[in-house]
């Protein structure tokens, strides 16, 4: 059956709540309303208000209470209504959750999922457009996933719910209703920490994740048609743990690497990818590693401003051409 990215997330929640009675959902407007984006639609009717819980506007409480329940064997899936609001729960995530097992000498677990609807390109402006994954990818004890397809959105959420560690699940708002896929009828899970080669190629590699995967694929199709370039597109899917083997394999194969993400350039996760390639695949490179990311500013509201700041397929096409010509 063909489903949207949003429906895929909703299906994963339904299926996991049916499978395991310890799974419950908590957040702002997730129950009666079914979520600001309708991601949790239908859960209240199916599972009742013990397991689908509307909360006050209290992000630190939402994550903190999730941690408390998780410690005692529950599997909470908590929602930040917009990923931007995760900053209000930052301490609970990076200090309470991420260090929990460590400071309990390995004698505790925190099976918590924090869903963060993220990303720009929807005129959301400064506080409804952010990509905050790089705040978390440097925190040991956390896992970070960034699905780009409906299949991964479903499979990675199921994996995150079953994982015994805190997982930050970045879902891209622009993808909610803009992509549709045929999903298998049966049960499937996407393992955390495994990248996927979306398209094989010979001339150069794009390493990307989340909101820029489809833009990269569009760009690859354009340069194949117009320039005869063969571009490999690697979708990381998980950022922590990171599939370093997939990064190095594609870098060694094509010798030219373009890293693309929607988060801004400086301090973005692309710097880590570039460093890994430079440290471990230097001898295979035919060109410097290039990065294409959001401009080092905030994500503005007005159309020309937002388009100027965020990556898109045209900008990726230009970057591919420039790198190919090096």
């Amino acid at each position: 059956m063909e489903v949207t990215y949003l429906t895929a997330i909703n299906q994963a929640l339904h299926e996991e709540m049916r499978r395991d009675e310890n799974v419950f959902v908590m957040g702002e407007d997730v129950a009666e309303l079914g979520g600001a984006f309708k991601v949790t639609d239908g859960l209240l009717a199916a599972f009742g208000d013990d397991r689908v819980i509307d909360t006050p506007i209290s992000e630190a409480l939402i994550v903190g209470a999730g941690i408390g329940a998780a410690i005692l064997g529950m599997r909470p899936v908590v929602e930040m209504q917009f990923g931007d609001f995760i900053s209000c729960a930052f301490d609970q995530i990076v200090n309470s959750a991420a260090t929990l097992r460590y400071r309990h000498g390995g004698r505790a677990a925190c099976p918590l999922v924090v869903r963060a609807p993220s990303g720009g390109g929807i005129h959301g402006a400064l506080f409804h457009s952010q990509n905050t994954e790089a705040w978390f990818t440097r925190v040991p004890g956390l896992k970070v996933v960034t699905p780009a397809t409906a299949y991964d959105a479903k499979g990675l959420l199921k994996a995150a719910i079953r994982d015994n560690n805190p997982v930050i699940y970045f879902e891209h708002k622009r993808l909610y209703r803009s992509i549709k896929e045929d999903l298998p009828d049966g049960e499937f899970v996407v393992p955390i920490g495994v990248a996927e080669v979306r398209q094989t190629g010979r001339d150069l590699s794009i390493i990307t994740y989340g909101g820029t995967v489809h833009q990269s694929l569009d760009a690859a199709r354009i340069v194949e048609k117009e320039d005869g370039l063969s571009v490999e597109v690697v979708d990381l899917r998980s950022l922590l743990p990171l599939d370093r083997d997939a990064i190095l394999a594609t870098a060694r194969k094509t010798g030219k690497v373009l890293v693309v993400h929607e988060d801004r350039l400086t301090g973005g996760f692309g710097g880590e990818i570039a460093a890994i390639v430079a440290e471990h695949a230097f001898e295979s490179l035919d060109a410097p590693v290039r990065r294409l990311a959001a401009a080092d500013t905030h994500t503005p509201f007005s159309t020309p401003l937002e388009e100027f700041v965020l990556p898109n397929s045209n900008k990726i096409v230009e970057a591919i051409r420039s790198l190919a010509a090096y």
Binding site: F24, D50, R51, I53, T55, P56, S58, A60, L61, V63, G64, A65, G66, I67, G68, A69, A70, I71, L72, G73, M74, P76, D91, Q92, N95, S96, T99, L100, R101, Y102, R103, H104, G105, G106, R107, A108, A109, C110, P111, P140, G141, K143, R162, D163, N164, N165
Partner: protein, 348 residues
């Protein structure tokens, strides 16, 4: 106990059990004091690295609050609540090993002092972000409510932490869901060096409870009997579905914020006044009124606590330090049912 035989001779079985309980509380309070005094000494001898935060003067609070708790309850102590660990049955040797950064410590050398929790005894290891454990205790209470379990969660915090947003968010949600959680404020009048009047414009933290839809209670935190009586009543009520409560224990920090702090910012007169309200002699006076030979009792208990503390120190000093590479362990829980393999080192 031999010392109580004469006092117990004419008592009913219930009254006799109560007397044993009251003597046990005395032992617990004395053990906490003895343990902490030894810790302060070890710190001066450089045998305990890092910060040491004494709860001296506040022993009646942890002893009294924890006394009606049962297996399966959840406690989030604050950084000064070493007594919670002893009250909940954590082995004194492992606790001392924790303070010395040894392998048998609760966090296996990973974190200092009281951040190492012990979930087998229902103790959450709080972080240094004071007040952040209140949302977590609320989450534990939420689990008890969802699963219809007759358990309670208890979160200790200082009046200092009561200024943090986490505390407001936690209490508000607990009130909305009528969760089985008890918030215990140890109001010792100082947040490090900052006195009460610079922290809040009201006298009682407990008065805030009304704003969250539940009751706030004020009790003298230096009066063990008063704390026990209130705690027994509130814990029983909350356990039976009565919803959250806030207990504010008025007390005073006998020592500095930590052992390196001489606390010169305090008024000497105030300290003397509060030292005269030391919970231990106060409780001894009660036991005396109950017919115990307190001098004899004190000698016996001192002997017992000395032995327990010495054994703990011996155990911890002989315990090995962790291997350097263990710094990379215990980060991630492996797949499977959490807690089913507690000895796992977290290599995943």
């Amino acid at each position: 106990m031999a010392e109580s035989e004469s006092a117990a001779a004419t008592l009913s079985p219930e009254a006799s059990a109560r007397m044993e309980f009251e003597l046990h509380l005395y032992y617990q309070m004395k053990l906490i004091r003895a343990f902490e005094e030894r810790v302060s000494r070890l710190h001066r001898q450089n045998k305990i690295l890092g910060g040491v935060y004494s709860g001296a003067g506040q022993e009646a609070i942890v002893t009294g609050i924890c006394s009606p708790l049962r297996e399966g309850d959840f406690v989030a102590p604050l950084h000064r609540d070493l007594g919670v660990f002893l009250m909940m049955g954590v082995d004194a040797g492992r606790l001392m090993a924790q303070l010395m950064g040894k392998e048998s410590g609760l966090s296996r050398g990973k974190d200092s002092f009281l951040h190492g929790g012990d979930l087998e005894h229902g103790i959450f290891g709080s972080t240094s972000m004071l007040g952040s454990s209140l949302p977590i205790a609320v989450g534990a209470a939420l689990k008890f409510q969802i699963k219809r379990e007759k358990q309670v969660a208890v979160a200790f915090f200082g009046e200092g932490a009561s200024s943090r947003g986490d505390v407001h968010e936690a209490m508000n949600f607990a009130g909305v869901r009528k969760l089985p959680v008890i918030f215990v404020c140890e109001n010792n009048r100082f947040a490090y060096s900052t006195p009460l009047e610079k922290q809040m414009a009201i006298e009682d933290v407990a008065s805030r409870a009304e704003g969250y839809g539940f009751k706030g209670h004020v009790v003298s935190g230096n009066d063990l009997l008063a704390v026990v009586q209130l705690s027994e009543r509130i814990v029983a009520k909350t356990r039976e579905g009565g919803g959250p409560a806030l207990i504010e224990c008025k007390t005073y920090r006998f020592r500095g914020h930590s052992e390196h702090d001489p606390a010169l910012y305090r008024d000497k007169e105030e300290l003397v006044e509060w030292e005269s309200r030391d919970p231990i002699p106060g409780y001894e006076f009660y036991l005396e009124k109950r017919g115990h030979d307190v001098r004899h009792l004190r000698e016996q208990i001192d002997e017992r606590t000395r032995k327990v503390v010495q054994e703990a120190v011996d155990f911890a000093e002989n315990d090995r330090l962790p291997e350097a590479r263990e710094a990379l362990e215990d980060l991630y829980a492996p797949p499977g049912v959490p807690g089913s393999n507690n000895s796992n080192n977290g290599k995943s």
